[in-house]
């Protein structure tokens, strides 16, 4: 008797614990769940605007590395609806690992140009950023090719972040598509010789190091220029932004290398309809304007305007190399970086 009671008591306890747990789990399933490698501070204003307009709440988790591994491990139970990354290589990875699902959306197809989205609607670019060159203010130079960054002219004068960073491997992969692996190896060797300091840190460090006299020339993303010069990063960074001159470089016979931030719908998305609504909202005029004004990115939607600070950098002529070609050469680019000891 006593034993029975105890057993029942235990059963009830177990059940209530499980119900409690299920409650926690169910809570996470409501609304739209966003897994993102995008810095949360950059994306939050957009999500807030979406919630304000639609009443749909967005739960987000910022994961830098291992986003694909986590979604894959969660499998069918995954609460993930939208997967967002800041590098097309990572986005295409998600598709290739079978973690996404195709969607049909006339809104998205109309807003995003064909070369900035995946076949069958597996992924969509939401914004673009150019890989540009920062030079010291007093340098007499107005244009440059990426290829020239390896020239002996810049010996001990170049600053750049790690060659293994996705922004750089994408740029190097684009160089491979243009000129082949051997020429790229030589180019990287030249750049390695030119380094004024270890290839590390972030793109803003490049501007600060130019101001600090460590280097004369460097490579960084376009939106950092807006973030620094607008003063939204504080008065210190405004000085760094003012200390540099920005050039939109081009590949010889090509254009300026761009990367994207983009998103896909997760394969087992429990709230697919609302998730698609979120993506559609992100390419709306309002959201594209926010991308441009708050993040200083290039909108993907044709006709959407860029911020004046970014417009002042000059006319962007996007390199025509397809993003998928670049993504295919990412691995080779990363190996070349190791081969020439770029980061060492």
């Amino acid at each position: 008797m006593h034993n029975n009671k105890l057993r029942n008591g235990r059963g009830a306890l177990a059940a209530s614990v499980l119900v409690g747990i299920a409650g926690v789990a169910a809570d996470a399933y409501a609304d739209v769940n966003l897994y993102t490698t995008r810095e949360p501070g950059l994306i939050q204003p957009l999500l807030d605007a979406f919630t304000k307009e639609t009443g749909i709440k967005v739960n987000s988790i910022f994961v830098r590395d291992g986003l694909a591994e986590r979604v894959a491990a969660e499998g069918r139970r995954s609460p993930a609806d939208v997967l967002m990354t800041v590098d097309f290589g990572n986005l295409i990875d998600l598709v290739e690992k079978g973690l996404t699902q195709p969607i049909q959306s006339d809104v998205l197809n109309a807003a995003v140009p064909e070369h900035l989205r995946g076949k069958d609607g597996h992924w969509y670019a939401l914004s673009m950023r150019a890989r540009v060159v920062y030079v010291a203010k007093d340098l007499d130079i107005d244009s440059i090719h990426y290829e020239q960054l390896g020239d002996a002219e810049w010996r001990d004068k170049l600053c750049i972040r790690s060659g293994q960073h996705p922004y750089n491997t994408a740029m190097i992969a684009a160089h491979i598509v243009h000129h082949g692996e051997d020429a790229t190896r030589e180019w990287l060797r030249g750049m390695k010789e030119n380094l004024a300091r270890a290839a590390t840190g972030g793109d803003r460090d490049v501007a600060r190091d130019i101001m600090g006299g460590i280097c004369d020339i460097g490579v960084g993303n376009s939106y950092y220029v807006g973030l620094m010069r607008s003063g939204s990063g504080g008065p210190e960074q405004q000085k760094w932004g003012e200390a540099i001159k920005v050039i939109l470089p081009t590949f010889e016979g090509g254009g300026t290398h761009v990367n994207i931030s983009g998103a896909a719908i997760a394969r087992y998305s429990p709230n697919k309809d609302d998730a698609v609504r979120l993506l559609e909202y992100l390419v709306s005029d309002d959201a594209q304007k926010l991308y441009a004004e708050a993040n200083y990115e290039y909108p993907v939607k044709q006709g959407a305007e860029v911020d004046p600070i970014i417009a002042a950098l000059g006319e962007l002529e996007v390199d025509p190399t397809p993003l998928t070609d670049i993504a295919r050469n990412r691995d080779a680019a990363s190996r070349l970086v190791d081969e020439v000891g770029f980061d060492q």
Partner: protein, 591 residues
């Protein structure tokens, strides 16, 4: 050497197992210990499975262009940090333990402060402070009348030297903490004997105190080196490409997870071999003192110039490892609050950080206690192997461990969900990832080694004859543990708990990958800001990590100072004729 001589004649109780425990082959302690070891080893086994998927052409690429430099740089970094932490940690510990000089009481605890500063924060801080456009070089140029930083610059901190410098100055407290405790416990008798036999103060330090403190130095340095080896924040930020960075690149940039797992496992094997080698090297030595009436060390008073020099030597690590970065963070925080106010999410993040760390610390301590006690109870190599397995998590980089944990966690969730759905009709979904339990699991798996090490050291100072007495008087193994050992182990428990707590608070990669949706801790907030390059905003979170981390460090100090004295007294008072049958013994003639 009378001490060594007398101990060989003492009653010999087997050092491995109290007599009463021998009969118990499959005791519950061993079973729980096995479960803990399995829990920690599970992610590593998962990594082995991932690694076995194979990675085409990886090793030829690695041996050709990556490994030669990565191994060289890793070794230089480890050697540099090892040397620096050993010098600072042991030197300052000997100064404050055996001497008296102006400010000694304050330095006694202040030397621990850098523990609260995560490596990635100190790296950011020093890059800013020492940058050509930062305060130090700007002031220097003004002083020298130089206008442009192009004409005069100090060497860049983004280098091997800079990395050794910042890591050395935040990691030395591991050595200081363990070594200081050892110096304080060393009986004055040994020192007196050495003095009587004609040794000078230097001779006493080099030939008696230091050799006796060797296990403490070894434990401290190995903790510091494992932190260094697995560090990704500071090393990567300062441009030093260690093997861990190679693991990371292989996985993240080349999407080659099996390859990354292979490198990580190869590193783990090397680490385990080195640790075993060090243990083997001191296999027959014993470090517990044999004195019948241990007296605390008499402090030697340093006067005049010597006293000032000692104070300066202790002030330097505190300044470099704590005061400068903390001052920098306060300065940046003030600038930020004036510019943009404080994020409203901060209080919730503090609560999340403290809750996760506290729960994980409690579980870690309990698990470590069981594992270490099972070693004391058990016979044969079984429990010892389990204890080693339970400590493996600390030898794997946090990011890699988190990746190994993912399939383990979702596997458990899958089984529970299936059972619950069929039995109760309730789906539990991802109850571990969704509740933060996954993060706690990661913390326990990763930091068990720290508390186990601390408890092992604590247990080794308690004579097995005490167990024998308790058991003879009828107490079972559990009662002996809770009524006899736990009270005596309080300092070791506190040290272990607080080190684990501070480490949990600072932990980043596993927290980032395994936390629930919409759940931020101070470390993840800080990282989100830092990756955007908004260091000033990040400064608030960083300052809070340091501030919250200070609380346990200060508790550690209070408990530590009182606790050691108490522990020493307890053992000697209750067992006045204790012959200290500890596992290892020192033969003074060896040194």
């Amino acid at each position: 050497m009378p001490q060594a001589g007398s101990s060989t004649k003492s009653v010999s109780i087997s050092s491995d197992a109290p007599v009463a425990a021998r009969r118990l082959r499959w005791n519950p302690w061993l079973i729980v210990s096995g479960a803990v070891a399995l829990g920690v080893a599970a992610p590593i086994l998962a990594l082995v499975a991932i690694a076995s998927a194979g990675s085409e052409g990886l090793w030829s690429h690695l041996t050709g262009s990556v490994l030669p430099v990565a191994i060289r740089d890793t070794l230089i970094l480890l050697f540099g940090v090892g040397l620096l932490t050993a010098l600072i940690g042991t030197g300052t510990a000997w100064l404050v333990a055996a001497h008296d000089f102006p400010g000694r009481r304050a330095f006694d605890w202040a030397l621990l402060l850098p523990l609260a500063v995560p490596t990635y924060i100190i790296a950011y801080a020093y890059l800013d402070v020492l940058h050509p456009v930062g305060p130090v070089q700007t002031a220097l140029r003004a002083l020298l009348g130089i206008d442009s930083p192009r004409d005069f610059r100090l060497p860049d901190i983004r280098s091997m030297g800079g990395c050794i410098f910042v890591l050395g100055f935040v990691l030395y407290p591991y050595v200081y903490l363990t070594t200081r405790a050892m110096f304080l416990m060393q009986s004055a008798n040994l020192i007196d004997v050495a003095r009587t036999l004609g040794a000078g103060r230097r001779g006493v330090f080099l030939r008696v105190a230091l050799p006796l403190a060797r296990p403490a130095v070894a434990i401290g340095v190995s903790l510091a080196l494992l932190e260094t080896l697995n560090d990704i924040g500071a090393a990567e930020f300062l441009g030093v490409r260690t093997l861990t960075v190679s693991v990371y690149t292989t996985w993240v940039t080349r999407s080659d997870l099996p390859g990354a797992a292979q490198i990580a496992i190869a590193m783990l094997v090397v680490v385990v071999l080195v640790v075993l080698l060090e243990r083997w090297a001191r296999r027959q030595r014993r470090y517990a003192n044999d004195a019948q009436h241990p007296r605390p060390l008499r402090r030697h008073r340093l006067r005049g110039g010597k006293g000032i020099a000692a104070a300066f030597a202790c002030a330097l690590p505190v300044l470099v490892g704590f005061v400068v970065p903390a001052w920098y963070l306060v300065d940046q925080t003030i600038a930020r609050v004036r510019f943009a106010g404080i994020s409203r999410a901060i209080p919730a993040e503090v609560l999340n950080t403290v809750t996760l760390s506290a729960v994980a610390t409690l579980l870690t301590i309990v698990a470590a206690l069981v594992v270490v006690y099972a070693v004391r109870l058990g016979r044969g190599p079984g429990p010892r192997v389990l204890a080693r397995a339970a400590s493996l998590g600390y030898a794997v980089p946090g990011t890699v461990l988190a990746i190994g944990l993912l399939p383990v966690i979702t596997g458990i969730e899958g089984v529970v969900d299936t059972v619950s759905t069929s039995v109760f009709g309730v789906s539990t979904g991802l109850f571990l990832l969704g509740s933060g339990a996954a993060v706690v699991y990661a913390y326990v798996a990763r930091f068990l080694a720290i508390s186990a090490g601390s408890l092992e050291a604590g247990f080794s100072r308690v004579s097995p004859s005490i167990d024998a007495a308790a058991r003879t008087l009828g107490a079972g193994a559990g009662r002996t543990l809770f009524r006899v050992h736990v009270p005596m182990l309080r300092p070791a428990l506190a040290t272990g708990a607080l080190l684990v707590f501070v480490d949990c608070m600072k932990e980043l990669p596993a927290t980032l990958l395994l936390r629930p949706l919409g759940f931020e801790t101070l470390a993840t907030h800080l990282y989100g800001e830092a990756i955007r390059g908004t260091y000033e905003e990040a400064a608030i979170a960083a300052l809070l990590i340091v501030a919250v981390g200070l609380v346990p460090v200060l508790i550690l100090v209070r408990l530590g100072v009182r606790g050691e004295a108490e522990a020493g007294m307890t053992v000697s008072a209750r067992v006045p004729a204790d012959r200290s049958e500890s596992r290892e013994r020192v033969r003074l003639q060896d040194s």
